[in-house]
Symmetry: C2
Subunit: 493 residues, 2 copies
């Protein structure tokens, strides 16, 4: 009973783990691995405290915790001993931490498909030019936003603070209902609008609501890899359908879809707008076959001249269109709020599903967004950003033409946050993007958005987040990387 | 060309929709439904403005938008006409809104299973006594929280504001790593901790990472309906495994599990704690079969005497335990932040999956939680709430005994936020809960947590969110409802 515990307990006095926690863990591991056998006496707390040079209270707390959890027990006349109740076949040497080689991990087939989807991991660190989809984060009115967040957080009502409204706070749903009607031609009652923890979550939720595992989902080719990965993650069979100058082209020998994912306002990545006739044809196909159409309206707020073309949703009389919006581009991505609009007949299904998948945005963030829109900050910010991004588009187009000359063809987009610099011929855009990454330039290879053989090659470049100076210097750098990549003169083998 | 548009455009001057939007929508619908035929001339803008009593700019904006979207076109020498390019078979009378009966909606089998799971829709409105799982929202230091949210929002770094860190902000992951080691015995590096948009999202994510559709998941019987619904939503085959006084009892003739969902610290709803021997047996089963164990540690912070029992996670040497935590009980539910802890070998899989399911919490909320913990507010709040909830537990136990007497048996729980008032005999607890709901009292029927025949019947009552006065008056009211429910004396047919 007076044996020394110095070989069992070895305390670090500099690390972050408390002495209490260390004594508790080390005694527990010794018991579980059999190094301290059942019935072994534990020294009196003052003895152990002296041996370990810690306070008696620390020892007492650890011993009491071990007793409460069943590792130690009091035996009359003897004191505290290692519990004999611990069945022998549960105490084994391999319970010592590190002594066991865990069985290999087995992940689900869905997780494997997502890993193989071709979508990279999330970027780390500060965004670099010319990351696509990234708005100008510095231009966002963070002070106004911080003030609104504080205001709504101080006044949070009991129902907003509790478990209610897993589908979205009424304030934001009502605000969005009016905003979407007026600015996007989307006619939806507040109850049809579901606020989610990102548009990606909305996409996942919508797909799970209407597609069974193995069901066919069409995506655009080339298209958004995030949509592909999300749909693979729901178990859908994803079929790439070629995009022409009018967007996704229905028809062709593709298996009949249950779901069609499109970006009709501004095709990602080609930038084309789906014209009326194609829109009506797509809706007709959906109405006839009962397929649903997901309209991802990711950046239509940034139309540089005139109003943006109305959403496909406004043309849908057969309740086929599921609309997706995001605040990642119009405010900033770290906000992590998006929304999905569904027909009335799907609202209950979506609400139940969302509650159980937990793809929910915090109450305060939802209320602050509603206030940000209602008090005019949202429209003002969009107006400023529209002018700013138009200028940066012009900057990037001019810089590309000046520095890269005939090596690329650039068509200035009518809006949005990125453009394509098309490389001539069979250029290796993937290799070029890798070399640019080595120089600190983020440029996506256009061919990486194709699942099949790429019809075009080029660089997909975001212009929204970078100052004219950055655009100029980084384009010049890009030109140097491009020049260094070319075979020296024409002496090609 | 000078025809009147008064039969086609009918403007409301009082509603929320702008005149521009109304003119645009009504002309568009008339074109799409064929009421305005291809080639029909549109009156000059000043004529239409006079007819409709609106400004000429409003008419011009609508006509320009319709032209930009392809509904109208300019014809030389004639002016603006309805576009003839619209293919005739796309223009149909049923395009008039309301004239079409949409095809029936077809939702996925998963969505149907979730709807049939027995879990109710989210509560609406302010929580009523004795809603379970609800903390005292008024006692939360909302002012401190609001100040922290504002502070981090004003200083949001570029990487936090952008698309990085879909798995969780480094600040919160590091803070949680230290906190979980010290307070719960969970040993996990920051990279193993995934911050999600609620613990429910973490559960959904974990299940999707390791269970294939049709794979077997064990849940506790009785158990948490939210876990059942979430697992059904991932396509798992859910098998209820009976709980005894030591929690879920492994063994028995159940199909071999791929996943086991347990609440070992404080079984939901029975409140029992899983003792050491059962914990080791469960981990042994998992290690032998390669099954994963989800440990949902939903409210262990509220242990009223001594420290809470360490998490199952700390005993796991074979990397089988997936740990789930939440801030819904320790802070407030509307925060919508939870976290999942996985073994190192699953971290990449989970990170990829989370990025693509969008179950992500806003950057500012994550940073504010990290600050709330680091600056000591979290521990202080927990300490206050522990004392407060212990007092309320005592209040409710005393009130139940005083007002309901022998009609119920109450075992005071050692911690948590709710208790069971067991009804004697074959009492209809579901009917009683419905009658109580009619009186404004929220009481869950214990039998509703069983999938099979209930072993016990009673009321599951939350005590954390209600003042001693509310507990007293609502328990007295409960007694009156209970008395009125009993058959009049013994003159039972």
């Amino acid at each position: 009973m007076q044996e020394t515990f110095s070989g069992i307990v070895d305390l670090s006095r500099t690390g972050p783990i408390s002495l209490y926690r260390q004594i508790y863990e080390q005694l527990r591991d010794a018991i579980l691995s059999g190094r301290l056998a059942a019935g072994t006496g534990v020294p009196a707390s003052r003895v152990m405290a002296r041996q370990l040079s810690v306070s008696r209270n620390t020892v007492l707390a650890a011993v009491e915790q071990l007793a409460a959890e069943g590792y130690l027990e009091a035996r009359q006349g003897v004191g505290t001993v290692v519990a004999v109740r611990l069945s022998e076949d549960l105490v084994r040497p391999e319970r010592a931490e590190g002594a066991v080689r865990p069985p290999p991990h087995r992940v689900s087939r869905l997780a494997q498909r997502v890993a193989a989807s071709g979508r990279e991991m999330a970027p780390r660190g500060v965004p670099q030019p010319f990351q696509t989809g990234t708005p100008d984060i510095d231009a966002f009115p963070h002070d106004i936003w911080a003030r609104l967040l504080r205001r709504v957080s101080r006044q949070l009502s009991r129902d907003a603070a509790a478990y209610a409204h897993t589908d979205g706070l009424p304030e934001l749903r009502t605000t969005l209902s009016a905003y979407l009607r007026e600015s996007r031609g989307v006619r939806a009652a507040p109850e049809q609008i579901f606020v989610t923890s990102s548009a990606q979550a909305g996409l996942d939720l919508l797909a799970r609501a209407v597609v069974d595992p193995g069901g066919v989902a069409w995506i655009e080719e080339p298209g958004y890899l995030g949509a592909r990965a999300a749909l693979l993650g729901t178990g859908a069979e994803v079929v790439p359908v070629p995009v022409d100058a009018h967007g996704l082209k229905p028809g062709g020998a593709h298996p009949a879809p249950r779901l069609i994912y499109v970006t009709p306002s501004h095709q990602f990545p080609t930038g084309c707008m789906m014209p009326l006739a194609r829109r009506l044809a797509l809706l007709d196909l959906a109405g006839r076959t009962g397929a649903y159409v997901i309209e991802d309206d990711y950046d239509s707020e940034f139309q540089f001249r005139g109003r943006p073309v109305a959403a496909l949703h406004g043309l849908d009389v057969a309740e086929r269109v599921l609309y997706l919006g995001t605040f990642s581009k119009t405010m900033f991505p770290g906000l992590r709020v998006g929304y999905a609009v569904v027909p009335p007949g799907l609202a209950e299904t979506l609400g139940r599903l969302q509650r159980n998948t937990g793809q929910i945005a915090p109450a305060a963030v939802q209320l602050a967004i509603a206030a940000f829109i209602e008090e005019g900050h949202y429209r003002a910010h969009l107006r400023r950003m529209r002018a700013c991004y138009a200028e940066r588009r012009d900057c990037l187009v001019a810089a590309l033409r000046r520095h890269l000359g005939g090596a690329v063809a650039v068509e200035p987009p009518a809006g949005g946050m990125q453009l394509i610099a098309e490389l001539q011929g069979e250029a290796d855009d993937v290799g070029l993007a890798a070399r640019l990454a080595g120089a600190g330039i983020e440029a996506q290879a256009l061919s990486s958005y194709y699942l099949g053989p790429p019809a075009k090659r080029g660089l997909f470049l975001g212009f929204a987040a970078w100052s004219p100076e950055q655009i100029e210097t980084q384009t010049a750098l890009m030109a140097r990387v491009l020049a260094a990549s070319r075979p020296p003169s024409r002496a090609k083998a």
